[in-house]
């Protein structure tokens, strides 16, 4: 049975929500009352429930299986965190209540900020960014604000080739030109090339560490020193922070700003694409420029600094309608409390252990472009698939039929046919062993070359076969419309 669109199911006269009768009053809509129909379908509650239950059953999820999606940190999402986010006095409070009536909420945000500062070794944190990319924007804006406060005009920002696509996009939105730094043969940023590009017009560097090849940038202290010596700031993309929790702190590495994806490292659920949350830790140099609002603790309890004035006079502004992703803060703090200092460190160790276990388990069948241990994700290229007619994409689609979500493909761009596998610390050894076995089987099958259709026609057992993405983009259909229109 196929699931029709919700718009194909309604019958006028049905209702999914009972509502009381409105009071009889004289409308005060300024003569602008709606006249026509909107076109929304009318359904009963059971119909709506069934519709979404059926839709959900067409999704893969971490709860149902392994999700080795590199750079995305798909880990276990504890249910106590969901429960906490819905507790009375947490899920149901309004952002503009008098501060005296939300002391618990402010205390919670403050405590989460303190944890983030301790974990990163940084003196300040901006809580309001709504996602990783939003956090990058926050960090780079703080850099620019700091330069401007010193009266300096800097125009370039250095970004390694292997960076997440949001890095250059963010730099551009802050008015910077992006200058790309090549990688060395060992997968790290080329320090010499980096040094050569530094100059008085360089605002800073944006570096992901561990980087998108799953490697720790071992020159990071030198990079920090060099950029600071050149008067620039060091933005660290924290997307891969999971790998180093409790083993090192950005504050010890010379970082000036780093966003933290609460939905990756601290396990707030991905939710099919959001919401995220991307607090940004800041060095002393950048802290005065942090966006409003933020929570301040003083003798009278907690209060919100909401305006660009007083202590926040140098703030670069406001990034979000209200104070931040409170729902995500609650979940992240519950997650941190649950792990504690010991558990947080263990997260990083097990995540890195798992990635290396996969790296070693597959390295004789899939080529690793860079030698040595990796951090929390293992990167392979497609060289062993050469001349088989089977691509990285084909392998990924065949994985679906084996019950897995595919790994990240074709990223980072610096590696040909990249396959980036991030198992996270949540998975058992048994799961990794099964996965390694399956991947070895698939690569073997590809290399024997006797069943090319097996790959080209994968996936077979998913709710849909391969979809025509080109057709979708060429003539986009972005909404349902009643028959006979358009």
């Amino acid at each position: 049975l196929e699931t029709p669109l919700i718009f194909e199911q309604g019958v006028p006269g049905r209702i999914g929500v009972d509502l009381p009768e409105p009071k009889k009053v004289k409308a005060k809509l300024g003569g602008l009352a709606r006249k026509g129909r909107i076109g929304l379908p009318d359904l009963s509650e059971p119909q709506v429930l069934r519709h979404y239950v059926r839709l959900s059953r067409q999704n893969y999820s971490i709860d149902a299986g392994f999700y080795p999606l590199g750079s995305c940190t798909m880990k276990h999402n504890p249910r106590i965190n969901e429960k906490a986010a819905r507790m009375p006095g947490l899920g149901d409070i309004h952002p503009l209540q008098p501060e005296s009536t939300v002391q618990g909420a402010l205390a919670l945000v403050y405590e989460l900020a303190e944890w983030l500062k301790t974990i990163t070794g940084m003196p300040a944190v901006a809580m309001s960014p709504a996602a990783g990319a939003h956090g990058e924007l926050c960090g780079v804006m703080a850099m620019r604000a700091a330069h401007e406060a010193r009266g300096e005009v800097r125009t370039r920002i250095l970004v390694p080739e292997s960076a997440h696509g949001t890095n250059p996009a963010t730099a551009a939105l802050c008015g910077y030109k992006v200058d790309s730094v090549p990688a060395r043969a060992d997968g790290r940023m080329d320090l010499e090339a980096f040094e050569a590009k530094l100059g008085p017009d360089v605002a800073g560097v944006m570096l992901t560490n561990p980087n998108t090849c799953g490697l720790f940038e071992n020159d990071i202290r030198k990079i920090a020193d060099l950029v600071h010596a050149a008067g620039g700031y060091f933005y660290c993309d924290g997307a891969n922070f999971n790998a180093i929790l409790g083993r090192t702190r950005p504050g010890d590495l010379g970082v000036d700003a780093m966003h933290i994806n609460l939905h990756k490292t601290f396990s707030t659920p991905h939710g099919g694409g959001g919401p995220g949350s991307g607090p940004v830790v800041l060095s002393d140099a950048l802290a005065p420029f942090a966006p409003v609002p933020y929570v301040v603790k003083d003798d009278n309890g907690y209060r919100l600094q909401e305006d660009v004035e007083g202590d926040a006079a140098q703030s670069f502004g406001r990034m979000k309608t209200f104070h931040g992703q409170m729902g995500m803060f609650i979940r992240a703090l519950a997650y941190m409390l649950s792990h504690g200092a010991d558990g947080l460190k263990q997260i990083a160790e097990d995540a890195v252990l798992n990635a290396n276990y996969i790296r070693v388990g597959l390295k004789d069948v899939l080529h690793t472009p860079f030698d040595g241990v990796c951090m929390h994700e293992a990167l392979f290229d497609d060289s062993t698939l050469k001349d088989t007619g089977v691509s990285t994409l084909d392998i990924a689609k065949a994985m679906i039929d084996e019950g897995y979500h595919p790994m990240t493909m074709y990223f980072p761009l610096v590696v040909h046919g990249a396959m980036l596998v991030e198992p996270t610390e949540s998975e058992t050894k048994e799961t990794l062993d099964l996965f390694i076995g399956t991947m070895r089987h698939l690569v073997d099958k590809a290399r024997t070359g006797n069943d090319p259709d097996f790959f080209k026609n994968a996936p077979r057992y998913s709710p849909r076969r391969r979809l025509d993405e080109t057709g979708a983009a060429r003539k986009p259909i972005l909404r349902w419309a009643p028959e006979g229109t358009e």
Binding site: T3, G104, I119, M141, T321, R479
Partner: protein, 446 residues
């Protein structure tokens, strides 16, 4: 630790398989001087029982609007969300799925997004909508960037009666770009008009109902914009109003942005919410954010995919039109489920109930000696002029367990002339008894 499956034996076996002696050998790339020895200065791991108690304690120190007559609005609105909504978004397959980049195993999320886009387009009276943004204010900023791209112009006019935070976020977002904004005066009387629209203006941004609750007919403004080659961006912070009012699309808007929180999303102290962005068909390729499109699979069955991603930063990198990457996924799902439950009949009736309740309450409040309601027109939120500063009144009401509204001065602290103004919102969650309590308390404190 309950979330971490490995036993020490397993760790040893795995290290051996990897060929290293200890887990420290996996971290040798970290410069020695930056390595952390020992543990972070934080407490050890806590049991679920402890975490539960701790979180409950944080909650207990707040006054929940569920436990108090509550009249707060100003961009975030308390509505009843049917329990089926929260049940459904907690299903593993929605909650713990990633962005649907693998469409074969993500049709649930994708179809829901396609339906969301359609619903948003319908209620705003536009052709198409994206799959959601962070929140209303970030949508607003993105709309201005989009208008600049569409018109290839560099300046935007923001109405002073646009929600102050939306103005702040837009200004902040644009400050380091080549684009700039100008703002008209804040005017609770709603008499200030948009100035002349020059040839350098990419768009005019107005809110309807505006920050003070007033409803305007924007048809003439839309015509002025179009004559000047600019776009009209209409902001809606209370999306329920669209059930009662002529849509921005009908008035001629080119881009409609808004906050979708009212439908399906809990207040949650300000986030996560769900930003809406809808526009005309012809501007599709300039839209920011994710888009889901219909297509077919190998067997010709209808299916859905993320599409037009060539606009996105993982393809275009520094040429990307925005750095927006995630959307409000689960919140847009909640919105869509709630909207499906309401349907045409429910959504319009919900709006009617809100309006009627607010009109009735406004009359009662206007009847208090020394107090007046400024608005001639409004949806479910209106501005009350008090004889004393609103901030103080709100604080006194809070002491009595009443969340009496939002003082305008909290959002526009710089203007002394507005300090007696109070924004009051009345929704279907407010009983007549709530209103009576507010009126009685107001009489007492002023």
């Amino acid at each position: 630790m309950r979330y971490l499956p490995h036993t020490d034996d397993e760790r040893r076996a795995m290290l051996e398989a990897i060929g290293v002696g200890s887990v420290d050998d996996l971290f040798t790339d970290i410069p020695e001087e930056a390595r952390l020895n020992g543990l972070l200065d934080l407490p050890g791991h806590a049991t679920e029982m402890e975490v539960d108690a701790r979180m409950r304690a944080f909650g207990a120190e707040n006054l929940s609007p569920a436990a108090a007559p509550s009249f707060l609005g100003a961009g975030a609105y308390r509505h009843h969300v049917p329990s089926v909504v929260d049940h459904l978004i907690q299903r593993s397959e929605f909650l713990t799925a990633y962005t649907p980049y693998q469409p074969e195993i993500s049709q649930g999320t994708l179809q829901a997004l396609f339906e969301f886009q359609t619903q948003v387009a319908m209620i705003t009276g536009m052709d198409v909508a994206n799959a959601s943004m962070y929140d209303g204010a970030t949508s607003c900023a993105e709309a201005v960037l989009m208008a600049c791209r569409v018109t290839r112009r560099k300046h935007a006019i923001l109405s002073g009666n646009l929600h102050p935070h939306y103005r702040d976020v837009t200004r902040t977002t644009l400050q380091y770009t080549e684009f700039s904004v100008e703002e008209t005066d804040v005017d609770p009387q709603g008499k200030t008009d948009i100035p002349e629209i020059g040839k350098d203006i990419a768009c005019v941004v107005v809110q309807n109902p505006d920050f003070f609750g007033r409803i305007q007919d924007l048809t003439a403004l839309a015509e002025r914009c179009h004559e000047a080659g600019a776009l009209l961006v209409v902001v809606v912070t209370e999306v329920v109003s669209l059930g009662a009012m002529m849509s921005p699309g009908e008035m001629g808007a080119d881009i409609v942005v808004g906050e979708g929180q009212s439908i399906g999303v809990p207040l949650s102290f300000g986030g996560p919410y769900v930003g809406l962005l809808a526009t005309r068909q012809k501007f599709v390729r300039q839209m920011p954010g994710r888009l889901c499109g219909e297509t077919v699979d190998q067997e010709g069955k209808r299916g859905f995919v993320l599409t037009l991603s060539t606009r996105e930063q993982h393809i275009r990198r520094e040429k990307a039109t925005s750095n927006i990457c995630t959307n409000a996924g689960l919140c847009s799902l909640a919105f869509s489920i709630h909207m499906s439950l309401l349907g045409e009949a429910g959504f319009t009736k919900l709006a009617e109930i809100n309006h009627a309740a607010a009109v009735a309450a406004a009359e009662e409040i206007d009847g208090i000696e020394g107090v007046s309601v400024l608005n001639d027109s409004f949806f479910n939120e209106f501005t009350v002029a008090l004889p004393v500063p609103a901030e103080k009144v709100v604080s006194q009401l809070a002491d009595q367990g009443i969340l009496g509204g939002v003082p305008v001065s909290r959002l526009v602290p710089s203007q002394k002339d507005l300090e007696n103004l109070l924004l009051v919102t009345v929704t279907e969650t407010n009983s007549s008894d709530d209103v009576a309590k507010l009126v009685a308390a107001l009489k007492e404190v002023i």
